[in-house]
C-alpha cells in the first residue's frame, strides 16, 4: 500500500486501522479475506443536526469510491435519505428558463472549468439554481455532489435567489480599521436580516466581500455591480437603505 506521494506508509504498531486497510484491495475495490470491521456508515449528529457540512473531502479521498454526497440546499431541516423529501426539495425550487443554459454549456465545451461556468450561470440567473447544477453535472458526467462541492467552496456563488439590490459591504483591512463592522451591523439592523440573507420582499440581499480594492474610500459599500459608496458611517448606511426603499416606492 502506498500513500499519495508514492512512499510506502510506515506500519503503525498495533493499529487496528492499519489491519483493516491491509484487508482491502483498493485496485479491485473489495475486501480481502474476512471482513473484520466493515461496520455501518453514519454521520455524527450534534443536537439533532448533522455535523457534516458536505466539504466532500471524504468523497474525494475515499480509496474505494463508496461515498457520494448529494446536493441538498435546505440541509439542516431535511434528512438525507428519503427520496420523497428530496423530491420535495426539487419541487420547491422555482421554475427556471433553461434557454440561457446553452451559454453555460458553450463555456464548458470551450474548455473552461466549472468556476467560469458558474459565473456565466450566476450572471444569467442571479444565483445557481439546482436544475442548472444538475444539468452541468450531466454535461460533464460528474456526480452532482462534486459540482455542488465546488459551488459551495467559493464564497461568491449563491444557491438561493437574491434580492433586487445586493448590498456588498467591504470587509477589507482598510475598511475594517475604518469601522466596517459597524457598517454591516447598521445595515443588518436597518434591513432586519443577518449577513447572507435576503429580505422577505426580495428587495435587499446583504453580503460581505473581502476587498473591492477601493481602500482609499474606506469603508466602502457596493450596491449591485456598479454603484459604489465610499466613506460610509452607520448613519449614511441607514440613510442609503431608506433612499433605496423610497426609490422603490416611487
Amino acid at each position: 500500500m502506498a500513500s499519495g506521494n508514492g512512499k510506502p506508509l510506515a506500519e503503525p504498531k498495533g493499529s487496528q486501522l492499519y489491519e483493516v486497510l491491509k484487508g482491502i484491495d483498493f485496485e479491485r475495490r473489495e475486501l480481502i479475506g474476512k471482513p473484520r470491521s466493515a461496520g455501518l456508515f453514519d454521520l455524527v449528529k450534534d443536537g439533532g443536526r448533522y455535523r457534516c457540512y458536505a466539504c466532500t473531502l471524504c468523497e474525494r479521498t475515499c480509496p474505494a469510491d463508496c461515498i457520494e454526497i448529494d446536493y441538498c440546499p435546505e440541509y439542516p431541516e431535511l434528512s438525507w435519505d428519503t427520496g420523497a423529501e428530496l423530491a420535495a426539495v426539487s419541487a420547491a425550487q422555482p421554475e427556471i428558463d433553461m434557454k440561457p443554459f446553452d451559454a453555460v454549456v458553450a463555456r464548458l465545451r470551450d474548455g473552461y472549468g466549472l468556476i467560469e461556468a458558474f459565473h456565466t450561470t450566476q450572471e444569467t440567473y442571479g444565483y445557481l439554481p439546482r436544475q442548472v447544477l444538475e444539468s452541468i453535472a450531466a454535461e460533464l458526467s460528474l456526480p452532482l455532489s462534486r459540482v455542488y462541492g465546488v459551488a459551495t467552496f467559493y464564497t461568491q456563488f449563491r444557491l438561493k435567489p437574491v434580492g433586487k439590490y445586493v448590498i456588498d459591504v467591504c470587509m477589507g483591512t482598510a475598511c475594517h480599521v475604518a469601522g466596517a463592522p459597524l457598517i454591516v451591523e447598521a445595515f443588518s439592523q436597518e434591513l432586519g436580516i443577518p449577513i447572507g440573507e435576503t429580505t422577505a420582499d426580495r428587495l435587499f440581499t446583504l453580503q460581505t466581500v473581502n476587498c473591492v480594492g477601493a481602500c482609499a474610500l474606506a469603508p466602502v459599500v457596493r450596491v449591485g455591480d456598479d454603484d459604489t459608496h465610499g466613506r460610509m458611517t452607520p448613519n449614511t448606511a441607514r440613510k442609503l437603505v431608506r433612499q433605496l426603499c423610497k426609490r422603490e416606492e416611487a
Partner: protein
C-alpha cells in the same frame, strides 16, 4: 545568419503594422484632459465629472480640439476623482461637477489655475499645481506604473506609441529563449507575489521539462484585503502584463496562458479582455506572433472569492474546475501543473517588470534596490494615513519614507501605532522598526513579510488585539479545510482572541496562543496556514502590553473592543441639540432639548453613531474595570 536577419525584419514589419491600430494616442504636449478611471475614482464619481467636462467643452466649441482621455489608476486614490490637464500637467483632485466650468475656463481656455481647487500640501497648506511636483508622486520611482495615468488602457495603439511591445519584438527578433532567461536571471528579478522566488530559476525549471504543452499563468488573484496593486496595473496598463507574459512564454516555450483574476475586479477583467482582443487583432497574440512563428494565446479565468486560490497549486485546481485546495509539492508545477503539464506561475507585477528589463537592460534594473532585492516594488498604502494610494519605490526604501515622506504621515491629531505588511500572512510592525528597509530578508527578520504589497497603517484608534483577531478571522474563514492544524487550529486561536476581546481572557491565554501559532505554522501544507498566525505572533511580540491590558485589566486602550467600553454624555459639553437623540438606532438616548442627554447603558449597542453625529464632542468613550462594572450594573 540569413534567417536571423530576415526573422528580425519580419518582426519589425509586423510591429510596424500594429502601430496603425485604431485608438487614441496620448501626448504629454497635447491638449488633453486625463480623467482617472480607476476603481476608486470611479466610485467617487468620475462618470459625472466626465460628463460635466464633455458638456463644458461642447459649450465652448472645443470638443474636437481638446481630447478627453480616460486613463488607468493614477494611484493617488485618496484624492479622487482626479483630473490632470495637459500640456501644463495641472493636477486637480477631488473635483465636483460644479467645479468643472471654472477648471475649463482657467486651465483649458486660459493658462491659469483655479487655486482653491488645487491639491494642498498637508503640512504647509500651500497649493501645489503640477502633478510632477506633488511629493506623493515626486518621491516615487515609477517603473511598472510609469504609463498608468498617462495612456488610455483601452487603446493598444497608445501602448505601442509609448514603446509598448518593443521588448517582445526584440526578443522575438533575436529568437533565443535561453538568452531571455539569462537576462532575467542577471537582473535579479524576484517574484512579486510574496515569496520572492527568483523568476528566472522558475522559468528555467519549466523550460527544462519536456512536454508537448506548457502553461504559463498570471496570478491576478489579489486576495489580500487592503491590496490593489495588481488591480491598478491591469486596469491602467493591461498590455504591459500581456507583453511580459508573451516574453515569458517565449522563454519557457509555453503554448497556452491563463490570467487568473479576481471576480471582484470588474474593470480589470473588462479592460484585460479588451486588451487581449486588440492584441489578437494586431497579431500580437495567437498563431505566428509578429510573423515570428511563435504561437501563444491567453485566456481569462475569474476567481470566485477564495483567498486560498492565490496559492499556486490551489489556483491550478481552481482553473481546472475543482475546489481550490493546495496539494503537496513535489511534484512542482514546473514539472506537473495544470492538467499535468509543466506550468509556470508569476504574479501581475512580476510579469509587468519583464518588458522593462528587456528594454532597459539588467544594469539599469540592478542599479535600483539592495543586494538581494532588485528593482522596485509597488505598495498599496491604505489605512489611517493622509495620502493613501499606490506607491512604487525602489527596493530598500524605508517604511518611514513610504509612510511619512510619500504618504504624508498620519491624519491630524493622530499618532502612528503600527504598519501591517503582507496582508493576513504578514505582520504588524511598531514605530521603532520604521527604519527597516523594504526588502524580502529584512521584513522576514522582523516577523512580517513583503507579501504582495499591502501596507495598512493604523493609528492610536486601532486596537491591536482586535486587529489580529480580524486577520485570524479572515484566514480561518478562508482556510480550505484540508489540513487540520490550519482548519481547527486557526478557529481555536480565534476563539481565544474573541475571549480576550470580550474581556474574558485568562493570563495563560497568551502563552497558549503562542504555542498554537507554532503548531499551525508547523502543521500546514501551504502558505496560508503557514503564515496565518503571523499577525498574532507579531502583535504579541510588539504590542504585548495591549493584550495584557485586555486580559489583566479588562481594558481596551484604543477603545475599540465593545464589551470593554462605555459611551456616556459629557453633561458640560452637551448642548441638548437633540441630534444624537434622533440618530440613535436603538433609542438609547433620552433628554429634553437644550438639556444634557443621557445614554441608557442597557439599550446602548455601542454602534458609535452618536459620537459621529455629535458636533460638540460631548460623547465620551471610556474603558477599564470601572466602566465595565458600571456598564453591567446599570
Amino acid at each position: 545568419m540569413a534567417t536571423a536577419i530576415s526573422r528580425a525584419a519580419r518582426v519589425e514589419r509586423a510591429l510596424e503594422r500594429a502601430t496603425k491600430a485604431d485608438g487614441h494616442i496620448s501626448n504629454d504636449a497635447g491638449r488633453e484632459l486625463r480623467i482617472c478611471a480607476g476603481t476608486a475614482c470611479h466610485a467617487s464619481g468620475r462618470l459625472a465629472i466626465k460628463k460635466a467636462i464633455a458638456d463644458e467643452l461642447e459649450r465652448h466649441g472645443l470638443s474636437d480640439q481638446v481630447a478627453i482621455v480616460e486613463t488607468g489608476c493614477h494611484g493617488f486614490c485618496q484624492q479622487g476623482p482626479i483630473v490632470v490637464i495637459r500640456p501644463q500637467g495641472i493636477f486637480y483632485p477631488q473635483l465636483k461637477p460644479r467645479d468643472i466650468p471654472r477648471v475649463i475656463e482657467k486651465s483649458v481656455l486660459g493658462d491659469e489655475v483655479a487655486e482653491d481647487l488645487l491639491y494642498r500640501d498637508p503640512v504647509s497648506g500651500d497649493p501645489v499645481a503640477l502633478e510632477a511636483e506633488i511629493p506623493f508622486y515626486a518621491l516615487q520611482r515609477r517603473l511598472v506604473l510609469a504609463l498608468n495615468g498617462k495612456i488610455d488602457p483601452h487603446s493598444i495603439r497608445d501602448y505601442i506609441a509609448h514603446g509598448g511591445y518593443r521588448a517582445l519584438a526584440k526578443v522575438l527578433a533575436e529568437g533565443d529563449p535561453e538568452a531571455v532567461i539569462d537576462l532575467v536571471d542577471a537582473s535579479g528579478l524576484r517574484g512579486r507575489g510574496g515569496a520572492g522566488f527568483p523568476a528566472a530559476r522558475k522559468w528555467r525549471f519549466t523550460r527544462a521539462t519536456q512536454a508537448e504543452r506548457k502553461f504559463l499563468i498570471c496570478n491576478a488573484d489579489e486576495g489580500d484585503p487592503g491590496a490593489f496593486m495588481d488591480r491598478s496595473v491591469l486596469e491602467g496598463n493591461p498590455h504591459s502584463v500581456i507583453e511580459g507574459m508573451l516574453i515569458g512564454a517565449f522563454a519557457i516555450g509555453a503554448t497556452d496562458g491563463y490570467v487568473y483574476v479576481r471576480h471582484e475586479y470588474p474593470f480589470a477583467v473588462e479592460r484585460l479582455r479588451i486588451a487581449l482582443d486588440q492584441a489578437r487583432e494586431q497579431g500580437l497574440l495567437g498563431p505566428n506572433i509578429l510573423d515570428s512563428g511563435f504561437d501563444f494565446d491567453i485566456r481569462v479565468n475569474q476567481g470566485a472569492g477564495a483567498f486560498v486560490c492565490g496559492e499556486e497549486t490551489a489556483l491550478l485546481a481552481s482553473i481546472e474546475g475543482h475546489r481550490g485546495m493546495p496539494r503537496p509539492r513535489p511534484p512542482y508545477p514546473a514539472v506537473s501543473g495544470l492538467w499535468g503539464y509543466p506550468t509556470n506561475t508569476n504574479n501581475v507585477e512580476t510579469w509587468a517588470n519583464v518588458p522593462w528589463i528587456v528594454n532597459n537592460g539588467t544594469e539599469a534594473y540592478d542599479a535600483m534596490g539592495t543586494g538581494t532585492a532588485k528593482g522596485t516594488k509597488i505598495f498599496s498604502l491604505t489605512g489611517k494615513v493622509t495620502n493613501g494610494g499606490l506607491v512604487e519605490v525602489p527596493m530598500g526604501a524605508t517604511l518611514r519614507r513610504v509612510i511619512f515622506d510619500i504618504g504624508g504621515g498620519m491624519l491630524p491629531g493622530r499618532h502612528f501605532k503600527a504598519v501591517q505588511l503582507g496582508g493576513p500572512s504578514g505582520g504588524c510592525l511598531p514605530e521603532r522598526l520604521l527604519d527597516t528597509p523594504i526588502d524580502f530578508e529584512s521584513l522576514i527578520a522582523s516577523g512580517s513579510m513583503m507579501g504582495s504589497g499591502g501596507m495598512v497603517v493604523v493609528d492610536d484608534t486601532t486596537c491591536m488585539v482586535d486587529f489580529a483577531r480580524y486577520f485570524l478571522k479572515f484566514t480561518s474563514e478562508e482556510s480550505c479545510g484540508k489540513c487540520v492544524p490550519c482548519r481547527v487550529g486557526s478557529a481555536r486561536m480565534l476563539e481565544i482572541l474573541d475571549r480576550i476581546c470580550a474581556g474574558q481572557g485568562e493570563p495563560t491565554d497568551l502563552d497558549r496562543l503562542q504555542t498554537m501559532a507554532d503548531d499551525v505554522i508547523e502543521g500546514s501544507l501551504c502558505a496560508l496556514g503557514g503564515t496565518a498566525p503571523n499577525p498574532v505572533l507579531t502583535t504579541l511580540r510588539y504590542f504585548r502590553d495591549e493584550y495584557e491590558a485586555h486580559v489583566l485589566e479588562h481594558r481596551c486602550p484604543a477603545k475599540v473592543c465593545r464589551p470593554l467600553i462605555r459611551y456616556t454624555v459629557d453633561a458640560d459639553a452637551c448642548t441638548g441639540c437633540h441630534v444624537c437623540f434622533g440618530a440613535c438606532p436603538v433609542n438609547a438616548i433620552s433628554g429634553e432639548r437644550k438639556q444634557a442627554h443621557v445614554i441608557n447603558q442597557k439599550l446602548c449597542t455601542k454602534c458609535d453613531t452618536c459620537r459621529q453625529v455629535c458636533t460638540f464632542d460631548a460623547i465620551d468613550v471610556d474603558t477599564g474595570v470601572l466602566a465595565v462594572a458600571e456598564g453591567r450594573a446599570s
